[in-house]
Symmetry: D2
Subunit: 325 residues, 4 copies
Amino acid sequence: MISIGIIGGSGYTAGELLRLLVNHPQAQLDFVYSTTNAGSPVASVHEDLYGSIDINFTDTVNPNVDVVFLCLGHGKSISFLEANYFSATTRIIDLGNDFRLTADANFNGKVFVYGLPELNRDQIKTAQYIANPGCFATAIQLALLPLAKNSLLADTIHVNATTGSTGAGVQPSATSHHPWRTNNMSHYKAFGHQHLGEIVQSLQQVQQGFDEEVLFIPNRGDFTRGIFATLYTKLTTDFNEVVALYNAYYASEPFVRVTTDSISLKLAIQTNNCFISLEQKGKYLLITSVIDNLVKGASGQAIENMNLMFGLEETTGLKLKPAGF
Amino acid sequence: MISIGIIGGSGYTAGELLRLLVNHPQAQLDFVYSTTNAGSPVASVHEDLYGSIDINFTDTVNPNVDVVFLCLGHGKSISFLEANYFSATTRIIDLGNDFRLTADANFNGKVFVYGLPELNRDQIKTAQYIANPGCFATAIQLALLPLAKNSLLADTIHVNATTGSTGAGVQPSATSHHPWRTNNMSHYKAFGHQHLGEIVQSLQQVQQGFDEEVLFIPNRGDFTRGIFATLYTKLTTDFNEVVALYNAYYASEPFVRVTTDSISLKLAIQTNNCFISLEQKGKYLLITSVIDNLVKGASGQAIENMNLMFGLEETTGLKLKPAGF
Amino acid sequence: MISIGIIGGSGYTAGELLRLLVNHPQAQLDFVYSTTNAGSPVASVHEDLYGSIDINFTDTVNPNVDVVFLCLGHGKSISFLEANYFSATTRIIDLGNDFRLTADANFNGKVFVYGLPELNRDQIKTAQYIANPGCFATAIQLALLPLAKNSLLADTIHVNATTGSTGAGVQPSATSHHPWRTNNMSHYKAFGHQHLGEIVQSLQQVQQGFDEEVLFIPNRGDFTRGIFATLYTKLTTDFNEVVALYNAYYASEPFVRVTTDSISLKLAIQTNNCFISLEQKGKYLLITSVIDNLVKGASGQAIENMNLMFGLEETTGLKLKPAGF
Amino acid sequence: MISIGIIGGSGYTAGELLRLLVNHPQAQLDFVYSTTNAGSPVASVHEDLYGSIDINFTDTVNPNVDVVFLCLGHGKSISFLEANYFSATTRIIDLGNDFRLTADANFNGKVFVYGLPELNRDQIKTAQYIANPGCFATAIQLALLPLAKNSLLADTIHVNATTGSTGAGVQPSATSHHPWRTNNMSHYKAFGHQHLGEIVQSLQQVQQGFDEEVLFIPNRGDFTRGIFATLYTKLTTDFNEVVALYNAYYASEPFVRVTTDSISLKLAIQTNNCFISLEQKGKYLLITSVIDNLVKGASGQAIENMNLMFGLEETTGLKLKPAGF
């Protein structure tokens, strides 16, 4: 059994980790750290786990657990790790964005591997520290990696992606206030979203010299879960060849499904799956990519990384019933 | 023209008043008071009014306006009126719950009339001070008044009503956080909601000695606007007579529509209307009542009261396009 | 392995069965029967299963499977069984309402057991034919069984319950048309819903001579999944004793969670759980009961019954990640 | 008073026309034609108008009304006009797409003017026949016309726009079935939507020789009303000059509001307004445009055209309360 600690235990990604871990056959929850809720039952915050989990939040960490998941707000993992010690063998998976860029990946001697299994599976297996990808970044990279791998990205990439409200976290705010968000749509950080850095970094990793523009408009959607992303760029080779390349790239992947049929967001919800649809539109390739932002876009992928690091079957604990409706 | 001041200008009921008043042919907006937003354009908060209203919030009041609407949180009207002076002829319409009960209605010599036109139209016409009814209270009273008027309430009254999230106000909170509220349903203050007081008071006003239980479960619904209320009690007379009594009671009412067909919440949304459906279920009378909580349940009814107080046609500025969908 | 056939394979309960069965360790899908889709891939209808299931719909049945699930419209199971033959050992689980009432339970020598494990577990274990309970009926019975078991139902029972739109099935209709249903609420079949029969039958099974009225208003909610039910009746004993009786009744139940905290619908969504909250309101007992209509209210409970019939651990394949949000 | 007939009276655009016309001070409803509902009260279909409108649907037309609105499915206006006669002075406003393109605009001697007031106001004033623009087309044209007017469209135009479910009409279908549509997102007709024709035609009308690509992805959104459109293209002049050109183009327009602040869909809902936001993103101009698809995108604009044709103030009957929430 893998002993597990969770830091930032009252947030959405921590809650989703807990929902997954209570059914994971190799997981042994050791502690759930939350300074604001220390002493209260975990199920008093994550109420759907009442009856499934009976431990309390703590404000102390066990430095000897096998793995720690950091579920803190972006930018807070560094300060947490500066203030807290873990054993030399404890693995750390950071769900924030502190260590995703190569420039940030070496932190006091801890070297973080970017935890996108479809890109870095072999490095993940031997890594001790993982920077778990962002949700938009996961959907967009999975949509583009087969092209990049074959050096076929040769023009501007246009991306429009819409996220559910859980992406904004558990803290109430004006743009996640129900009266405002419901029946509404808006965009934010257009052309300047912070996930662009990790996206471009990964594309450059597999396509030498990649330097095309990625024009990305993120939208706030009127749903709670999911990323619905459409991307297009000029076709640089025959469409059927492109389909073949995607099928080849993802042939052995347990969580990526490639199709030329139309898809909708809900296919991926409540699962660790990414559905990718490919269509030719004249001289353009149109790619649609959907994931659940809290599963493949966060906590599910974090467990996928854990499975790889501990030599488990990658899908352990991640064969999830799709939401359906 | 009626010169108007609004207190608590950044909240939902104030916003709805403004949306209505900009098209009201006799309304002249004098000031919109908001201590937190003073100096900023009103349209910077109520963004849909950009291009329709070009004044700024103020932190001073003009004591000589013809009418002031108090759109403060419940319990805050008293302290506001203690701290601020208005002219002897200024009319005041309080949208809070400070003065709705007879025991609270005389405040420093100001006598507040309960502003439900279908109950107190004549008193409203000559009142200087109005306590505007609560949203649940409006839907429930309109559903019961014709029975009470005819002394036909003779058994326990069972009420189940669901409100939209705007009912909880503009301030973000856990139960109006979009990820939580969406696709969800819950109840609160079951059997003990604060509107019971004004409901019972009105029933007693028209049915001498009324003392039946009113068992009321309020629910939080997964929509932004509206009150959907179902009520039942034992039939104490022939159903057709009941229908006739409702039709008679509301025959001249501009905003109440009585039917024996089934109805749904959206019929009333974005309007000042109340739809009431009557059905016989064996020995029970089942009443369904729907309103828009921000219009007939708050700001629309406040303007209806203003119209009555100033001798205008009651529907002035309140002939609104229904939402439809 | 249990070989399985599904009849009526393109509907919502069949889809949900398939989502559950693809991860069930003892399930071996033999055929999915759908006359309208015969020859097409199952994943062309249940698109989220693309990549998880690769068989086609058939228009023939294998009469020798171990178990058949009937997922036909209500009233259609009888005609299907009249026209189709299954082996003498094939077990049949009917998700429709054809055989739920005792008067209907003996069909050509096949005797159907009412498949509510919390009521009839022992009979289910040895049954060959199961009538799977209705969704509303499941939520309401679980809310009342401990009272009935202790003969504590002694006054009128008031029930108000709201269902998600999947409850109306896959066939588009006016009241499940998105523009109409969204932001809306309505009731239907008030005081006369067809599930009342099975509810009263079960209460009478455990409380001899039960003959109180059950006044039930079913509502159409603005969400896709779930049943949110509130019930109240007069307390006939001390509240703390009631809580103790519920805790005792459900102490060993894997899927029922009793609490005195407030609950909301989403706690149960995407799971086979039923959450029950108990509150005292003066002389009344207020019970809140929430389930997922497609899981505990249909397909999950059907698999729970299968597990019991085949001697498996009852929770096999039913340890599901809650939706969360 | 203007006597009015409506054809196709049971659909969504007809319903919205009726909601607007019942409060229009110059409108006199003569007949509402619906073959499927002839003889039934109009309010039996458009239930929110119960109490506001008391005529029945007819299956005959009065050929002498002042104006007829055609609210038929796309492609059905031609056959209707072939089978039905109207007086020589009757004006016709077609809400379908039969006559929007110049190539289709001359129908048996009736010459249809494209009814976008911000483009063709003078021609509309003297027109007898109007082709009312499409909803997507309205939002997109209003976003681009000031650039085209100044011949500043000089590169590919990228458009991503999401529509509410009312855009798909009153007829239930798989993609407007509530269980499917809710919490979902999808695209359709990417790069090939039928509104592209009228969009390009209008751009060419004001920018001689315009031949840039317009790459348009239409999405199905999880809301009932509205079009949320984002567009970008390369800036060909200084951003501040662009803002000035938009402000100048729309300075006298009663329904278009230009801003450099961020906007969200709901600003325009339930109104005839179009909000346009302008932002510079490096070398790109990002334009956001929001309308209500049933008002400015259909029935509101149709009445705007009627007002212009009959010499009324353009905003008559169209000063609508915004939805707010």
